[in-house]
Structures are given as structure tokens and as C-alpha cells.
């Protein structure tokens, strides 16, 4: 095992996939010379050259469209959108093209694109650089949406996403890049569409996504001191959703809290709550509770962390649920 950062795990995934398949290439802003804002593609331009590591102009529609066009021709692009906030410019190419061609061609055409991007708070950059927009993608048929929380998962999931023939939106969290974790030395994959129980427990299931998984684990530590045994479930892939792992956990604990940084209204947190309610209604000791980001533009500066869930919010919610 190696102890590496989330950012290094991405770099290794890139390197392994590009070495094994020359059809894999990177396209995006500042991925070559800079090696990505967080070092996730550092050194790859030197190793693979500008044909496989393509620094692109600030043109998100062209980056996404170019990725789609090259994918239908047999390449396997990883298109990086520097901030998920900028993906609004590329939505047409993702939603109207990448997700439609397979069906429109009666299964003949495949669009193996990974749109890799990052969201959430952490850089004190205010409301156009800090959003959690994953909910937009979960609602689009034909699209896979992935949100990893650990170095182990990001590496294995990214490799699976690159090898998958469907379009994938792969959303990292900017506060995770320099977190560390154990990763196997050799090659491995983490399958898409499979949730992971990050901590086992008997009393309450906390379903959390992305950076919120870390908060949930800290909350679980604190709750354990108070005699409450939390199970923390990380869906990893928001869609297709591993309903079974989520449902099995709640059938055991009879209590469920869903935690997302994105606002609750109209979002995946509601989808998860519905899945649980539909499958576990008679077993639930209390209604499913949601802990989500405030419905606000993220404010500038240190205050940004006060509008999204943290350990305290989760602890309080669990107490309320069990009361």
C-alpha cells in the first residue's frame, strides 16, 4: 500500500490508463503546462506529449464538443472542466449530444467521454467558483454521475470511468485534493454504480457524498463517544445508484440521514430519501432526514464553510432523528 493524496491518485489513474491505451487523451484548460490547478496531471505533458495532453483555450463548449466528436470516432477523451461552475457553458454538448448519440444511433455509436471537474467550497472564491451542481446531471438519462471521496476511490473510479463506454460526469471536491489515504501499489478498479460502507454501525445510517463523507465520519466518531453507533454509506456513483447497499443499511439501522453539500430542493438528496422511503417505509423508526447546503450563493471568504453542512450539523441531525 502507498499513502498518497487524492490529487496524486488521479495522476496515477491518468498515467496508467494513458500508458495502456493510446486512445485515452486529456483535454482542458491548464492541464498540460500547469499540470492542473491541483497537480492532478503534473508531468503528463512531458511523458505523453501535446497530442495526448491537450491544453485547450478557455472554451468550455469547444472542449466538451471536441471530446464528444472525438469519442464517437473511437478516442477516449477525459475532458477537464476546471470548475464545475464553468460546465454551464458545456451543458449543451454534454446533455444534447454526449447523452443522445447512443440512443439515436440505435446503439451503434458509443460516446466514451469522461467530463472531469471539481466543485464545492474550499478556495474562498465566492458563488461562481464554489457550487455543487451534481443534481443537474443526475436527472439526465444516459449519463453516469460519480463523486468520489477518498484517494482509493478516486483512482479506481476514474479508471473505471475511462474504460466505460457511456458518458460520465466525474465531480471531485476541491477540499479533497490534498487529503491522504491508502491506495494499493498495483493496478485496481473500483466499479461504477457500487456504494461503499465507509463505517459500519447499528443505530443510524448516514448517507453522504463527496467531501461530506469526511464530515460524516468525524460526526460518527463523536457520536460513538456519546453512545450512538453510525453507519456511513458513500454511494460514490450518484447515478446509476446502488440502491441495495443503501436500503440494506437502513433496513438494519431503521434511521437515515442524507447529507449533501448541494441544496436539498430538487436534488439527489431527495432522490436518495425517496429510494429509502419507498423501500424501507415500514421499517423506518422516523422519517428520513436531510442535511444539505443552504439555498444560497456561496459567499466569499472564510464564511463559505458556514453555509454548507459540517460535523456539527450532522451530529445535531442524528440526535434530532433519534430523539
Amino acid at each position: 500500500m502507498q499513502e498518497i493524496t487524492f490529487s496524486e491518485a488521479i495522476r496515477q489513474a491518468y498515467q496508467e490508463e494513458m500508458r495502456s491505451d493510446p486512445a485515452v487523451y486529456l483535454i482542458g484548460e491548464d492541464i498540460g503546462r500547469w499540470g492542473n490547478l491541483f497537480g492532478a496531471s503534473r508531468g503528463l505533458l512531458e511523458e505523453f506529449g501535446p497530442a495526448q495532453v491537450k491544453d485547450a483555450p478557455i472554451s468550455e463548449a469547444a472542449i466538451a464538443g471536441c471530446a464528444v466528436g472525438s469519442a464517437v470516432m473511437g478516442m477516449r477523451p477525459i475532458a477537464e472542466i476546471m470548475y464545475v461552475d464553468f460546465i454551464s457553458i458545456a451543458m449543451d454538448q454534454i446533455v444534447n449530444h454526449a447523452c443522445k448519440y447512443h440512443q439515436l444511433s440505435n446503439g451503434q455509436v458509443r460516446v466514451p467521454v469522461v467530463f472531469r471537474t471539481q466543485g464545492g467550497v474550499g478556495m474562498r472564491n465566492s458563488s461562481q467558483h464554489s457550487q455543487s451542481l451534481e443534481n443537474w446531471f443526475v436527472n439526465v438519462p444516459g449519463l453516469i454521475t460519480v463523486m468520489p471521496s477518498t484517494p482509493h476511490d478516486v483512482k479506481g473510479l476514474l479508471k473505471s470511468a475511462v474504460r466505460n463506454d457511456n458518458p460520465v460526469v466525474f465531480i471531485e471536491h476541491k477540499s479533497l485534493y490534498f487529503t491522504k489515504g491508502s491506495v494499493p501499489d498495483g493496478e485496481y478498479l473500483v466499479p461504477l454504480g457500487v456504494a461503499d460502507v465507509k463505517r459500519e454501525g447499528r443505530d443510524v445510517t448516514v448517507i453522504a457524498t463527496s467531501w461530506m463523507v469526511l464530515h460524516a465520519l468525524k460526526a460518527a466518531d463523536r457520536l460513538a463517544e456519546q453512545g450512538v453507533d453510525c453507519e456511513v454509506v458513500d454511494p460514490r456513483t450518484l447515478w446509476p445508484l446502488d440502491k441495495k447497499t443503501l436500503v440494506d443499511s437502513v433496513l438494519k439501522t431503521r434511521h437515515c440521514v442524507v447529507v449533501t453539500e448541494a441544496p436539498a430542493e430538487g436534488g439527489w438528496s431527495g432522490e436518495a430519501a425517496s429510494v429509502i422511503s419507498e423501500a424501507c417505509f415500514e421499517n423506518l423508526a422516523a422519517p428520513v432526514k436531510r442535511v444539505c447546503g443552504m439555498r444560497t450563493g456561496v459567499p466569499y471568504g472564510k464564511i463559505e464553510k458556514l453555509v454548507v453542512p459540517n460535523e456539527d450539523w450532522i451530529v445535531d441531525a442524528v440526535h434530532e432523528l433519534l430523539a
Binding site: 483555450p57 471536441c66 464528444v68 466528436g69 477523451p77 446503439g107 457511456n166
Partner: protein, 321 residues
């Protein structure tokens, strides 16, 4: 151009025109259910441009794609089926008149104005990488030249010298909005010059002119000198869609003036001037019509897709990777 080649172009243009006219009739009968955008009047662009493409080149088209598709070689029978929403269509009837894919013919189209242009850069990138001297021809309209995708795609294609031939069909209107009021640069090819390209503007109702200028662009792209940008000035005879309130934005006199410049009539008189008999041309017209009637009749016999068929390829199941 050799007379035989010219006759081939004539036949192709008649095919596009008759197909369009028949589709409009099907639309009036509500058999084409929606989304049909007539192409009549613009045939010289599709036919001239596609006449210089290879079978393995790719065409990216827009919401008015039927002319480009037929000119690229999609079968009229499958095209009728697609228009009618029947099985046997190029997209098995689930795409309809403005979004379908014929992967065997290298044909893609879509109904979001301008967005195919950014997709064409990726097709070009893959072709540049494979090195087989293929090109991507991307058709779009004057309206698309006002979208962000146009500008992003032109810049990207230019900085990476991608083998994409951008073909702007300036048919004078983006829906109901006249080019003279809604586009800031005239000719629109000036916009290509802003990206360092040799944008040219040509008479899009002259099939020989279109073929020759597109051929030059295609050659340039095949030899690493891409992209190319061609503005073909033309006119759509019918409304934006069949039955649009066209007299709110243009006059009958204007339509009549352009009908007098009909690309098909012009080619016909050129052929006659070159010694081709009226009878020979009439025989071509009749043969095309007969074939199309038979294709249409066949298409009208085809079933509609079931919901299950129509939704069977939304995504590739994860366990079948």
C-alpha cells in the same frame, strides 16, 4: 465540369427537391409529425459540397439535415422512415426529421443551432490523429454564426489546424430573423477571417461553384492545411418550418426574386445550353420521382417503434462494459 458529372449533380439535386416537396405534403397530412424544416432552394450547397467528399468522410449537420443526408448517401427509403417516425429509419424512427445518426454513412445531425460545430472539431481531431486524410464537413446556418459554439469551434479548429470544412449556408434568415438585421458582419465569412482563416463567400445557388470551392477546402484539409471556411449564399424557398407565418418577415416579391435564381433551374438551363435534351432531363426527373414514390410507399407500410424499442439504448448497462 464534365457533362456526366454535371448530370449526376443534377440528378442529386432533383432527388433533394422532390424529397423535400414530398415531405412537405406528408407534413400537411400530419404523417410527418413535426420538426421538418424544408431545404428547397438550397440544394446546390449540399449536393456541390458532398460531391467532393469520400465515403469515409464525416458530415455534421443541423436541424435542416435531409438534403445533406441524401447528398452524403443516406438512403431515401430510410430517410422517409425517419421523417415518418417508423422502424427502418436511419435512427429507427426515434430521431425524427432533425436529429438522427447514420453511422455507416458517417452522418450526424442535431437540432440545437450551432452546437454541431464544436462536435465537428472533435471529429476532426480524431481524423488528424489517425492520419488517413479524412475530413469532416460541418454544415450550419447564418443563425449559428451568432452562437458561442461557432466562435469557440472556429478558434479551436484554427489553432489545432483541424481537418474541418465549415460550410455556412446563409439562407438569409435565422428562423424569422433576417441576416441583414441580426448578423453584425457582412459577408459573414469576415468572422472566419477574425480567426485567421481564409473565409470565402460564394454563390451558393451555383452547384459548380460550390463544388469547386469546397473541393479546394477539402484538399487543403486532407493535406494538413485545415480548417476551411465557406459561406454559401442561398435562400430557402419555404418557411423556417412548413406552415410558419412567413409573410410576417418576408414578402412574396422577395421569395419570387429568389425563386428566379433557383439552383435547379440554373443547372437545368446550363445543361440544355451544353446540348442535353429536355427529354433526357425529364427522364431523370421522372425516374427520381418514381423511385421516391416507391420509397415513400414502402416507408408508410413500416411500423412505428414500440416504447420498448424506442427506449432500449438509453445507456449501456454497467455490467456489460
Amino acid at each position: 465540369m464534365e457533362l456526366n458529372d454535371l448530370l449526376k449533380l443534377y440528378r442529386a439535386m432533383v432527388l433533394l427537391r422532390r424529397f423535400d416537396e414530398m415531405c412537405l405534403e406528408l407534413k400537411w397530412k400530419d404523417l410527418i409529425m413535426n420538426g421538418f424544416h424544408p431545404y428547397a432552394g438550397e440544394e446546390a450547397v449540399a449536393v456541390g459540397a458532398c460531391s467532393v467528399l469520400r465515403h469515409d468522410d464525416v458530415v455534421i449537420s443541423n436541424h435542416r439535415p435531409q438534403g445533406h443526408a441524401l447528398a452524403k448517401g443516406c438512403s431515401a427509403r430510410a430517410m422517409f422512415c425517419e421523417m415518418l417516425g417508423r422502424r427502418g429509419g436511419v435512427s429507427q424512427g426515434i430521431g425524427g426529421p432533425m436529429q438522427f445518426i447514420d453511422s455507416d454513412k458517417g452522418f450526424f445531425c442535431g437540432s440545437i443551432v450551432g452546437s454541431g460545430m464544436s462536435v465537428s472539431t472533435g471529429v476532426g481531431l480524431a481524423m488528424q490523429r489517425e492520419g488517413r486524410r479524412r475530413v469532416c464537413a460541418c454544415f450550419f446556418g447564418d443563425g449559428a454564426s451568432n452562437t458561442g459554439s461557432f466562435h469557440e469551434a472556429l478558434n479551436l479548429a484554427a489553432i489545432w489546424t483541424l481537418p474541418v470544412v465549415f460550410i455556412l449556408e446563409n439562407n438569409q434568415y435565422g428562423e424569422a430573423m433576417p441576416v441583414r438585421e441580426f448578423v453584425s458582419a457582412h459577408p459573414i465569412s469576415l468572422r472566419a477571417k477574425a480567426y485567421g482563416l481564409d473565409g470565402v463567400t460564394v454563390d451558393g445557388n451555383d452547384v459548380e461553384v460550390v463544388a469547386s470551392v469546397v473541393e479546394a477546402g477539402v484538399d487543403k484539409c486532407r493535406h494538413g492545411g485545415g480548417p476551411a471556411f465557406i459561406e454559401a449564399v442561398t435562400y430557402r424557398f419555404e418557411g423556417h418550418y412548413g406552415g410558419d407565418p412567413q409573410w410576417t418577415y418576408r414578402s412574396r416579391e422577395e421569395v419570387a426574386r429568389w425563386r428566379a435564381k433557383c439552383p435547379l433551374v440554373r443547372l437545368r438551363s446550363r445543361l440544355i445550353d451544353s446540348g442535353v435534351s429536355e427529354d433526357r432531363l425529364r427522364a431523370i426527373d421522372e425516374q427520381v420521382s418514381q423511385d421516391l414514390y416507391s420509397d415513400e410507399a414502402w416507408a408508410l407500410e413500416q411500423p412505428f417503434p414500440t416504447v420498448e424499442q424506442a427506449t432500449s439504448h438509453v445507456m449501456i448497462p454497467l455490467n456489460q462494459d
